[in-house]
């Protein structure tokens, strides 16, 4: 089967570097693009000025197609009662670290994709725009497509893939439950509906008339090749790039990825308010990975001072340690070399 994404985008390799907000910026994207893959810029935690700056760096250092990624969550209002519950649960940790709750900075919202972001797309015209947590409103999506961009969105269930096809997406990222970071789920909050990529991919490929990109649990050249043989048009990998030189992965996060603890990840809403896969650390273990925290993306604020205090001591006890279920492919090498290695078993 011809790789549709590769043909349409004139990509050398059917490999997409997964956008990973908070742990990478333009440098990783550029390295992957210049190696023949599709690099991605995650914009979820950037304001328009920062996005512009990153886009200028990418277009100044790379004349290949690249992907710009946005979150499309429903922004929820701050809920003082829920925040209090969450802070009360953290109380023993605040006391342990001698943290005065009154100094906790208010949560910084992450804005979903909006008009300001659209204007940047209209100006920079990236070849690919990808969305997570569903799609923007129809008029916004139409305007994105009018820029000439190919649009992608994550689906975590067959129902989400069908919904995305009906709403005009160009290609679907099948996000297996193995994937690190935030689950892209948007039609249901029931974690039991999240399935492994080996089960999800064929179901979506059989039901959908669009290119399907496999994501989750793919860590090496054998995994890339196996995903393509299961019917994927391309693959998307994030975890494999986390130790790469160009990633901005923190020191405690890098240490966790290289430790035996990396074998045990769980879906947790403690760090942001939405379920995301992280290596299990102290806060997840002692409070449980899922709980009544402030809604996305506000939950992180209450953890921030604990995270800062712990990280200052080299501890990852309160840090989001995003990782997929398969960290066996992580290497401390350049992202270009990683991309070439991932493609080394393609025929």
């Amino acid at each position: 089967m011809p790789a549709i994404l590769q043909q349409r985008l004139k990509l050398e390799l059917p490999i997409i570097q997964a956008p990973m907000a908070g742990v990478q910026g333009s440098a990783l994207a550029i390295a992957v693009c210049n190696a023949g893959g599709l690099g991605s810029l995650p914009c979820a935690m950037l304001n328009p000025m920062q996005i512009r700056s990153e886009l200028e760096i990418i277009t100044g250092n790379c004349n290949r197609p690249f992907n710009v990624n946005f979150f499309c969550h429903q922004a929820r209002a701050f809920d003082a009662a829920r925040e209090k519950l969450w802070r009360d649960e953290l109380g023993p940790f605040y006391r342990e670290y001698d943290i005065d709750e009154s100094i906790i900075a208010p949560a910084q919202g992450r804005k979903p994709f909006n008009e300001a972001a659209l204007e940047l797309l209209q100006e920079f015209k990236p070849a690919v725009v990808s969305f997570h947590f569903g799609l923007p409103a129809a008029d916004l999506l139409d305007a994105v497509k009018a820029t000439g961009a190919m649009t992608l969105c994550s689906a975590t269930t067959l129902a989400e893939a069908l919904w995305l096809e009906q709403h005009g997406i160009d290609a679907i990222i099948a996000q297996g439950v193995e994937a690190g970071g935030h689950r892209g789920m948007f039609l249901s909050e029931d974690l039991s509906e999240q399935v492994g990529i080996f089960a999800l991919l064929p179901q979506i490929v059989n039901a959908i008339n669009l290119p399907v990109i496999a994501a989750g649990g793919i860590a090496d050249a054998a995994g890339v090749s196996a995903a393509l043989s299961l019917g994927a048009d391309a693959v998307q990998l994030g975890t494999a790039y986390l130790l790469c030189d160009e990633a901005e992965t923190s020191a405690v996060h890098r240490a966790a990825l290289q430790s035996p603890a990396a074998v045990h990840t769980a879906l947790t809403n403690r760090f942001s308010g939405r379920p995301a896969r992280s290596i299990v650390n102290r806060v997840m273990r002692e409070l449980g990975p899922m709980g009544e925290v402030s809604p996305f993306p506000l939950a992180g604020a209450a953890l921030a001072p604990l995270r800062a205090a712990a990280e200052a001591n080299g501890s990852s006890d309160f840090s989001s340690l995003w990782a997929g279920q398969n960290t066996s492919g992580c290497r401390q090498i350049g992202a270009a070399e990683m991309t070439r290695q991932l493609a080394s078993k393609l025929s």
Copy 2:
């Protein structure tokens, strides 16, 4: 890479039909064996007389290698207080069906692998013996190996695979979280440690010096081929065989597998006391898939009259609907034909 299992067992195909207690017996195993795969007889719910009878049927109808499977759970004592809690939770259903609790038959234990089973293995000398929920005691395992049988056991985590290698198993079944029926987990009860086959398989293959069999989420020829390319020596499939003519899958179970409901499975301990993957039905939805039920295998007794009453009305509301996360390969065909189709993309 040469398929070690195939060579050692002189198997035509690297395909194992997963043992599925309660939904199949000798007929399915014989059909798969005669088609060149490795058929399996699940013994968990059979007494020694029944096992003997099934083994006589297999050896009378097939002169190829076959697999005999046993559970190795720690049998737990009946706990009257816990049983009362479980029955209280079912109370509204008993009243709805007008069921008198006093008629509920006491739970029938399922015996773990024992001396009586060993004697049958010594007599019938099957080529393969597989275990679920860990291994029998060392002397029993040694005695099984002394019969000449190749021994297999399920591992659901890297830690379990390492443990099995240390304890002398001949080959490991990597059971991805996608798999239907009972999780083989035996070193931990933490469901968050259960990972997708795409992540589990390479981790075990990299760490272990034994043949590794991939199980979970594999539904068709492309899946078989992809699992082998990820480093599996062979694959084990159960769900794909559930609609086959020779399976004893009940009418309500067959109907559920062919319905849109099949796309949503969950791990539940409601039917037996141990986590197992079933299509979500009424009892799982209304009580939640996991709960404080009687310990394995005793939980099923309290559900039995509800199951019988519902099934008499064609309802699967209280039935264990074992299925993996990928039912897309289920077909109402003979098991020999299914086996050949699953092998159709092997080079």
